[in-house]
């Protein structure tokens, strides 16, 4: 078990967003958090990253307790994060956005700027551009590339397929398969069930801040009642 959340409760101010959420991710697995808008997928990822720390409960990563640790310490342990709004540093160039993550990381490994640029050639072509001047699609690749540059053991991806054209979503699925080959573990939050089925092994379905259902992606895909109840608008 590389990541195990047990009964976490996370709040935004007074509103109780996550209620006794528990889930587990095995090393090398790709796990999807599913559910409609506003059910707590982003908050779950932010809780793991230490950006909105849970008030109670425990999150263990490689037998280490994450709750109570600041985000930078969690990042040093080997977790990287691609937020849904991508959060590219606007003043830094494309190249600097990648390099800064490698320099701040405490882990070394397969991913270098050359390899990330091989994966996303457009990042090489745009390397001297300021982050603010990149297109939405470029920012998405850069944000994912920046997460890889830290050579983490676990990557948290928030809405990776959101806003992408169907063909690009297909490419993204290929990219995630390539990333997996480097012994990477992924936890992703996405509303696109088809995409999740393609890339993930298991899924947890969130509903109103609680885990409503879980299972292998193959089982969830077949379960029309569950899909109707929790996933289709």
């Amino acid at each position: 078990m590389i990541l195990a959340a047990k009964d976490i409760n996370t709040f935004y101010g007074a509103s109780h967003i996550l209620q006794d959420v528990s889930f587990e991710v095995e090393k090398g697995e790709v796990v999807a958090l599913l559910g409609r808008n506003g059910v707590g997928k982003t908050t779950t990822l932010r809780s793991v990253m230490g950006l909105t720390p849970p008030r109670t409960g425990s999150i263990m990563f490689k037998e280490k307790e994450l709750t109570g640790k600041p985000a930078y310490a969690i990042s040093w342990l080997g977790i990287a994060y691609m937020p849904d709004d991508l959060r590219i540093f606007p003043d830094l160039t494309c190249e600097e956005n990648l390099e800064i993550a490698r320099r701040l990381s405490r882990n070394a490994g397969y991913w270098s700027r050359e390899r990330v640029e091989d994966l996303f050639p457009v990042l090489h072509a745009r390397k001297k551009q300021k982050g603010a001047n990149l297109s939405g699609g470029e920012k998405k690749m850069l944000s994912l590339g920046r997460a890889l540059m830290a050579n983490p053991e676990l990557i948290l991806l928030d809405e990776p397929s959101e806003g992408l054209a169907p063909l690009i979503v297909k490419n993204l699925a290929e990219v995630i398969k390539k990333i997996r080959e480097q012994n990477m573990t992924l936890l992703l939050a996405d509303q696109n069930l088809k995409f999740c089925r393609k890339v993930s092994d298991r899924g947890y379905i969130l509903e109103k801040g609680r885990i409503a259902h879980s299972g292998t992606m193959a089982d969830i895909w077949k379960d029309e009642d569950v899909i109707k109840k929790y996933l289709v608008l």
Binding site: P83, F89, E99, A150
Partner: protein, 302 residues
């Protein structure tokens, strides 16, 4: 402004006079720049308006003077060690006080930093007395240099050179070093910076100490220039620095640099040609900028 050397000499020739008034204005502007640069750096990264920044200027001046008086009147030694000692003060203020008000509204930050202004003004009065201290001359720079037939103090020329050098060094540091890039990344997105491994609290402390050093360096450099040190000298310069920061655009170093030049020149020309309105001009300019372009010359529109 109360900074410049006397410009009361009769001007036999208009051009000479204007050149000299310009030079005097530039040197005044460079002092304001040194203080405003630290203020701007701290505001740009930490989003804290540090009212105590003038206090670092004052402490820089007093400690530089105190050290040089004990080190065989060696001004350069005082200029190096004095501001470093003030950095220790800045470190303690950030680490144990300011850090706890970052999440509070601006008025709380201003109140806390204003409290430090009062505390250190009184501390300086207790330690060095309320009267002003005399200032030493600087070996090698105490003379003057003939420009267009009139002498201009060498030390003022030195100050005019130091200002752009500091600006250039800061630009190179922020644009060309990884520490600088990390500072820029954190100032634009603190949370994402933390998520990629920036120890934001430690970075904030380091930026605050760097800003402190810039203000204290301005104070140390002012020792031979102002002619006398007074416990209130920090308040005089912090007002100018705030005006400069507002005109240039809060958080913009480029804005602070050009704002300081404008205010320095305006003050110098005001003192020379319309002394009655000297103080007035700066604030008229600030009011005008606030009405016409509230974000300042180089600030980003909201």
């Amino acid at each position: 402004m109360g900074l410049g050397p006397s410009q009361a000499q009769r001007a036999p020739d208009m051009l000479e006079s204007i050149v000299h008034v310009c030079l005097a204005g530039l040197s005044i502007g460079m002092f304001i720049w040194l203080v405003a640069s630290g203020l701007t750096l701290i505001f740009g990264v930490l989003k804290v308006l540090n009212f105590a920044h003038g206090t670092f200027y004052m402490l820089g001046a007093y400690l530089c003077y105190w050290i040089l008086a004990r080190m065989g009147d060696n001004f350069w030694l005082g200029l190096i060690l004095g501001p470093l000692a003030v950095c220790a003060v800045g470190f303690l203020i950030e680490r144990f006080f300011l850090r706890h008000v970052y999440h509070l509204a601006l008025p709380y930050q201003l109140l806390l930093t204003f409290a430090f202004v009062l505390i250190f003004d009184d501390a300086v009065k207790i330690i060095w007395g309320a009267g002003s201290l005399g200032s030493p001359t600087v070996p090698g720079l105490s003379g003057s240099f003939p420009i267009l037939g009139r002498n201009f103090p060498s030390y003022s020329l030195f100050i005019i050179a130091v200002g752009p050098l500091v600006a250039l060094a800061m630009w190179a540091f922020l644009e060309r070093t990884w520490w600088g890039r990390i500072i820029r990344a954190s100032s634009s997105d603190r949370e994402m910076a933390a998520a990629i491994g920036v120890r934001v609290p430690a970075l904030y402390t380091s930026v605050f100490v760097l800003g402190t050093w810039l203000g204290a360096l301005g104070g140390g450099l002012a020792v031979p220039y102002v002619g006398l040190l007074t416990p209130g000298m920090g308040e005089v310069i912090i007002i100018d620095a705030f005006v400069v920061a507002v005109i240039g655009g809060l958080g913009s170093l480029k804005g602070a640099f050009f704002g300081a030049l404008i205010i320095g020149l305006l003050s110098s020309f005001g003192t020379r040609f319309i002394p009655t309105f000297d103080m007035f001009l700066t604030f008229i300019l600030m009011a005008g900028v606030l009405l016409w372009r509230p974000q300042g010359f180089f600030g980003e529109a909201k």
